[in-house]
C-alpha cells in the first residue's frame, strides 16, 4: 500500500472515532493496535500476532511515558490549582480591579491583566479559560458588558500563557525539539508583551468607538496611596513567584523542567504568608486557628485537580506518542517529509504550510499531542531552509511561531477546543456563534503578531541573544 493511503487511513480512522465521540486517548489506542498488528504481527496465528503487537506498543509506551520531560505538566498544573484554591488568585484579581479605578471597560483590562498573570503562572490555557470564564463572564454580563468584551479577552490570554515564561509548553517544545530552553523562554517575552499591548489597544479602541459595549458606572473612589499599597501587598508577591522560578533556572539550582516544582512551592509559601503569618501579626485569631483547616482543604483540592488534568493529558500522550511510533514504523512519516520537501517551495511557503497544518490539527488535538506529532517532522524540515539569521536564532524564531500557531489553533472557530470549554463555562443562553465572534478579533491580533515576527524576526530573537 502506498504511504499516502496508509497515512490517510490512519489519520482518517482516528478522526472518525474522535468525531463519533470515542475518548481521544482510546481512539488513538484502538487505531495503534490495528496498525501495529500489521507492522509487527508476522507469526501466523492471530493470537501470536496480537500478542506481539500489544507487546511492542506496551514497550514503546513505557519508553514514551517515563520521561522526565513530562514533569512540567503536573507541576505547572499543581501550581495553578494551588494558586486558585488557596484564594490567592481571587485576591490578585480584586487588587487589579481596584488599581484600575474608574477606567472605561476596566473589567476587560482586568481580564487581560489578571488572566495573563494567572495563565502565566499556571501555563494551562484550558484551566485559565475555565477559571476566568466562570469568574468574570457572569459579573461582566451583569454590569452590561457585551459578550465580545468579556469572552474575547479570556480566549486571548491563553496565547500569553504560552509565550510569557514560565510556560510548560515552551519547556516541552524546547525538550522535544532539543533546542536551548532558556533562550526559548526568554524569546517569548517580547512577543508576549506586544500581544498584551495589542489586546489593550483593541479593547481601548472598541470601548472608545462604541461605549455601549462596556458601560461606565460609578464606583467608590479609591485613593492612590491605598492603591499603591494594594499593588505591593496583593500583586507584587504573586508575580514575584514567576521571577523566583526564572532566577532559580539562571542560578543553576534547577533545570527548566525542574523549575515548575519550585513554582508550586512558591505558591505554598505565599499561602502560608497570607493565610497564617500576616493574620497572626494582625491578631486575627480565628483566621490563624482556622489555617490548617483551610490549607489542607485547598491542598487536597489542588492535588486532586492537578492529578485529574494530568491523567487526561497522560492518556492523550499515551495514545498520540504511540501513534507517532506507528506512523514512523509504517514509513509514512519519512515519506511525508520527503514528499513535502520534494516541492521546490520557498521557506516562507513552507512556513505557511506548517502554520496551516497546525491550525487544522488544533481543531481536534491538544497542544501536547500536536507537538509530539509535528515537532519531529517540522524542525528537520525547517533546518533545511535558511532565513538568513543563522541556525541558532532560526530554531528559536520558529519555535516561538509554533507556540503562537498552536495557541491560535486552540481558539480557531469552529472547532477550537477552548471554544468548547468556553461554551461550558459561560452563563446559560450564550450561543456558540457569540463565542466564535468574540474570539475572532483577538485571534486576529495573534495572527498579526505572527506576521510581524516573520517580517521582523528580531522580535523573537533579539532578547535571547542579547548576551552574545
Amino acid at each position: 500500500m502506498e504511504w499516502y493511503w496508509i497515512l490517510s487511513l490512519l489519520l482518517g480512522s482516528i478522526l472518525l472515532l474522535m468525531f463519533i465521540g470515542v475518548p481521544v486517548g482510546l481512539a488513538f489506542i484502538a487505531v495503534n493496535s490495528i496498525a501495529a498488528f500489521f507492522l509487527y504481527g508476522r507469526f501466523g496465528s492471530f493470537d501470536a500476532n496480537l500478542s506481539a503487537s500489544i507487546g511492542q506498543l506496551t514497550d514503546n509506551a513505557f519508553a514514551n511515558m517515563t520521561i522526565f520531560a513530562i514533569v512540567p505538566i503536573p507541576m505547572f498544573l499543581l501550581m495553578g490549582e494551588l494558586f486558585f484554591h488557596t484564594g490567592l488568585a481571587k485576591r490578585m484579581f480584586n487588587a487589579i480591579e481596584n488599581l484600575m479605578g474608574r477606567a472605561p471597560a476596566r473589567l476587560s483590562y482586568v481580564t487581560v491583566a489578571g488572566g495573563t498573570a494567572f495563565a502565566t503562572l499556571s501555563g494551562s490555557s484550558m484551566g485559565s479559560t475555565a477559571l476566568l470564564g466562570t469568574l468574570m463572564v457572569p459579573e461582566m454580563t451583569e454590569r452590561g458588558y457585551k459578550k465580545s468584551m468579556s469572552i474575547g479577552p479570556i480566549l486571548g490570554t491563553g496565547g500569553l500563557a504560552m509565550l510569557i515564561p514560565p510556560s510548560a509548553l515552551a519547556v516541552l517544545l524546547g525538550t522535544l525539539a532539543e533546542i536551548d530552553i532558556g533562550r526559548l523562554l526568554i524569546g517569548g517575552i517580547v512577543p508576549g508583551l506586544i500581544l498584551a499591548s495589542m489586546y489593550t489597544l483593541l479593547i481601548y479602541t472598541r470601548a472608545t468607538l462604541d461605549p455601549s459595549v462596556a458601560p461606565v458606572y460609578d464606583i467608590k473612589f479609591i485613593p492612590w496611596s491605598s492603591r499603591l499599597k494594594t499593588f505591593f501587598s496583593d500583586v507584587v508577591p504573586m508575580v514575584s513567584v514567576i521571577f523566583m522560578v526564572i532566577l532559580l533556572i539562571m542560578f543553576g539550582v534547577a533545570t527548566p523542567s525542574e523549575s515548575a516544582a519550585y513554582g508550586s512551592l512558591g505558591v505554598v509559601i505565599l499561602s502560608f504568608i497570607y493565610l497564617l503569618i500576616v493574620p497572626w501579626f494582625q491578631g486575627k485569631k480565628e483566621v490563624v486557628s482556622n489555617f490548617w483547616n483551610v490549607f489542607s482543604v485547598a491542598l487536597w483540592k489542588s492535588m486532586w485537580g492537578a492529578g485529574r488534568v494530568t491523567i487526561i493529558a497522560l492518556m492523550i500522550l499515551f495514545g498520540s506518542s504511540l501513534f507517532s511510533n506507528v506512523l514512523a514504523g509504517s514509513g509514512a512519516s519519512v515519506k511525508l517529509i520527503e514528499w513535502v520537501t520534494s516541492f521546490d517551495v520557498s521557506g516562507l511557503v513552507m512556513l505557511l504550510i506548517m502554520f496551516g497544518i497546525l491550525l487544522l490539527l488544533g481543531m481536534f488535538m491538544d497542544q501536547l499531542a500536536m507537538m509530539l506529532l509535528t515537532v519531529p517532522i517540522f524542525f528537520p524540515i525547517m533546518a533545511g531552509f535558511d532565513f538568513g539569521m543563522g541556525p541558532e536564532r532560526q530554531v528559536i524564531w520558529f519555535a516561538v511561531i509554533m507556540l503562537l500557531a498552536m495557541e491560535i489553533s486552540f481558539t480557531t472557530p469552529p472547532f477550537g477546543l477552548l471554544l468548547f470549554v468556553m461554551q461550558g463555562v459561560c452563563p446559560p443562553g450564550t450561543r456558540f456563534g457569540e463565542i466564535c465572534m468574540a474570539a475572532i478579533p483577538f485571534m486576529g491580533c495573534a495572527i498579526f503578531l505572527v506576521i510581524m515576527i516573520v517580517i521582523f524576526p528580531e522580535i523573537a530573537t533579539w532578547l535571547p541573544f542579547i548576551t552574545k
Partner: protein, 188 residues
Amino acid sequence: MLKIVDDLWGRVLAVLMGIAAVYVALIMIAIIYASAFRFFGIAYSQYTIPFIEYGFLFILFLGSPWLVRNRGHVYIELLTAALNDHGRDILSRIICFLAGLVCLIWAWYTWLLFLERYDDMMAYDELRAQYDIPLWVSTLPFPIGFFLMMIEFFRFTVMSKPMHTGLAGIASDRIELEDTQRDLRETK
C-alpha cells in the same frame, strides 16, 4: 444490593485516584529535595529520578478508571449532541462496548506480558540499568489499569444514563467547570 456494590466499587476507584493525586504532590517534593541537595552538594537518593519517571505510568493507570467512571476523559460531543436522545443512547452504548473491548484485549495481553517478565530473571529496565529495576514493575500498571477501565466502559453499556450526555463541548471540562462553580459558590 447491586447499587451498594456499585457505590463501594466507585469508592475503591476514588481511593486509587486519590493515590494518584498524592503521587503528583510527591513528585513536587522529590524534585525540590533532589535539586536542592544537589545544589548544596549533599548526597541524596538517586532513586528520585526513577520514582518521578515511573510515576507517570502509575498516576495514569491508577486514576484513569475513576475518570472513565466520572465521564472525565476528553471526548468530543459533536455528533452525539446533534442526535436525538434515542440515537445518542444507542451510539453511546456501542462506543462504550467497543472501548471496553479494546481495554479487554490490552488487559489480557499485557497481563500475559507481566507474567512472562515476572518469571524472567534477566528482564530489566535497560535504560535505567544502574537501578536494577525488573521490567515487570513497569508492566504491572498496564493490565490493572486497562482491566479497571474495561469494567467502567462495560458498566456504561448497561447503565440507565449513557456515558455521552449530548451537551456540546468536552466532557472533562464540564467536571472542571462544575467543580470550579461549586468552589466559587462555597467561597462566596
